[in-house]
């Protein structure tokens, strides 16, 4: 093997050579002092660069936090998509403009009795689609995604409403079949209820992902219902079968609803 150029040595250092090529290069390095020296030098420079860090600064984080705008406004639009409010007009306003409810860091003034929290701005689900065909297969769902049978879903829930609520998560496919994510509903003889979502400032991943089976191609509505009481799945299915999604809130004790529509392509 003839002597190596620096580019090959750099590729070797970065672990980019095939096993065979790396083996040959390693053998050459053990025989050739010149190449070995060149390689060592590149490696030492890279090593020195890797050791470079800014000095510790214990005040940096607190300085950033102090400079954050105080009492920011909460924007439900990005993360809390599709809020179930009684009137469609209200819904339209919430989609298009940020809510003006403030989080706990905002100081309330002018009232001795705080008003009730708005559930729609304190409850939310982030849905992730896990597409088998993609190399990096986890995508936060925003609506409009295209999935295939075999793709999975996982969920992260947020409940800052101040009290425990109950959650039903399901999808309705193009053939109007209901596919349950949470609660688990695989045995028709059982009658599971909505799962409890405790009030907590932290976001909570739901423990299991779900791969729905037999989705009919076409439109798929993924629905999250936050409820005031633990309704049974049969109650939800009954309402879903007889009413449009937008009317669910009138028939069940819904605090907030998210609906996202995606496409099942096969």
């Amino acid at each position: 093997m003839k002597c190596l150029d620096e580019q090959t040595l750099a590729a070797f250092m970065e672990g980019e050579l095939s096993t065979n090529a790396a083996g040959e290069l390693q053998a050459h390095l053990s025989d050739c002092a010149g190449c070995r020296q060149a390689f060592e030098r590149l490696r030492e420079i890279a090593g020195q660069l890797r050791r470079v860090r800014a000095a510790e600064d214990p005040h940096f984080v607190s300085q950033v936090l102090e400079r954050l705008p105080a009492g920011h406004r909460r924007h439900p639009g990005r993360w809390l998509v599709g809020l179930a409010l009684p009137a469609a007009a209200t819904l339209a306003v919430c989609w298009s403009t940020p809510s003006h409810h403030h989080d706990g860091e905002f100081v309330a003034r002018g009232s001795a009795r705080p008003g009730p929290a708005e559930p729609a701005t304190h409850l939310g689900v982030e849905v992730f689609v896990h597409q088998q065909s993609r190399e990096r297969n986890r995508v936060a769902m925003r609506g409009g995604e295209r999935i295939e049978n075999g793709d999975g879903f996982s969920f992260v829930v947020s409940n800052r409403f101040g009290r425990d609520v109950y959650l039903c998560l399901f999808a309705i496919d193009n053939a109007q079949a209901v596919h349950w994510f949470y609660p688990s509903y695989t045995d028709a003889a059982t009658e599971p209820q909505a799962i409890r979502v405790p009030a907590t400032p932290a976001i909570m991943p739901l423990s299991q992902g779900v791969t729905p089976e037999g989705l009919a191609p076409g439109r798929l509505s993924v629905v999250a219902l936050f409820l005031a009481r633990p309704v049974r799945v049969s109650e939800v299915e009954k309402v879903v079968a007889g009413a449009a999604l937008s009317a669910i809130a009138q028939r069940l004790p819904v605090l907030a609803q998210q609906t996202q529509i995606i496409d099942v392509i096969k």
Binding site: Q48, Q63, V156, S207
Partner: protein, 219 residues
């Protein structure tokens, strides 16, 4: 209907238990997902989650800004601005496991803009025949203010000097790779070039450093 594919998704176990703060090695999927979850929480107004992100990345961002600005104080200010902008744009971030890419793109834009402003100030100061304060300070710390700072030995001084003499594009790629441990794909996304361009800039940067550094300075 329910299955065990969650076994393949360790990220969902990471809430409240973020990955270690060490940035050694590549950006693992678990780490990327932990960052995404913190950003999701930040998007919902969770300042504690945001503070975790800042703590995790501030030294790297300061190092990176310093390599561009060649000035410690300006690097510190720039890094503050980076995290303020991250907060301001947190609702725009899409959690696809590319947090570092997003963060360093912000950092690059802010630091380069400051660098351009500084150059304009220096040019004006030179034109009118007086010294710009920031210029005077910058000249004393040459490049690598960032790194600066706790590495006062001779080899560190040589490295800073050599870095300061590198072409800006080569230095940018080198810093992202070795200070910040970004992959070629991530670097490519941050600098707006292809991964092969990123790779060749890193190689030429290393080669140029090998020429610039006295042999005995590399230990």
């Amino acid at each position: 209907m329910r299955d065990a594919f969650m076994d393949e998704m360790p990220h969902l176990k990471l809430v409240g238990k973020p990955a270690p703060d060490s940035d050694a090695g590549e950006y693992s999927e678990a780490r990327a997902q932990a960052d995404d979850l913190l950003m999701i929480a930040a998007a919902q107004g969770d300042r504690a989650a945001f503070a975790k992100l800042v703590a995790r990345y501030e030294r790297h961002v300061r190092s990176y800004c310093g390599a561009i600005l060649h000035h410690e104080t300006q690097a510190w200010d720039a890094a503050q601005d980076v995290f303020l902008r991250l907060w301001a744009t947190r609702l725009r971030y899409r959690p696809k496991g590319k947090f570092r890419q997003y963060l360093y793109t912000i950092a690059r834009n802010i630091a380069r803009n400051l660098c351009r402003s500084k150059r304009r100030r220096q040019a004006l100061a030179h034109f009118f025949g007086f010294d710009d304060d920031s210029n005077a300070t910058a000249n004393t710390s040459a490049v690598a203010s960032p790194h600066s700072l706790h590495e006062q030995d001779e080899s560190a001084r040589h490295l800073r000097l050599a870095l300061s003499q590198l072409d800006e594009r080569l230095r940018d790629a080198l810093v992202l790779r070795y200070f910040n441990n970004l992959s070629y794909d991530e670097i490519a996304a941050v600098i707006g070039r292809t991964p092969s361009t990123a790779r060749s800039r890193i190689f030429y940067g290393l080669r140029r450093l090998a020429e610039l550094l006295p042999k005995e300075s590399v230990q």
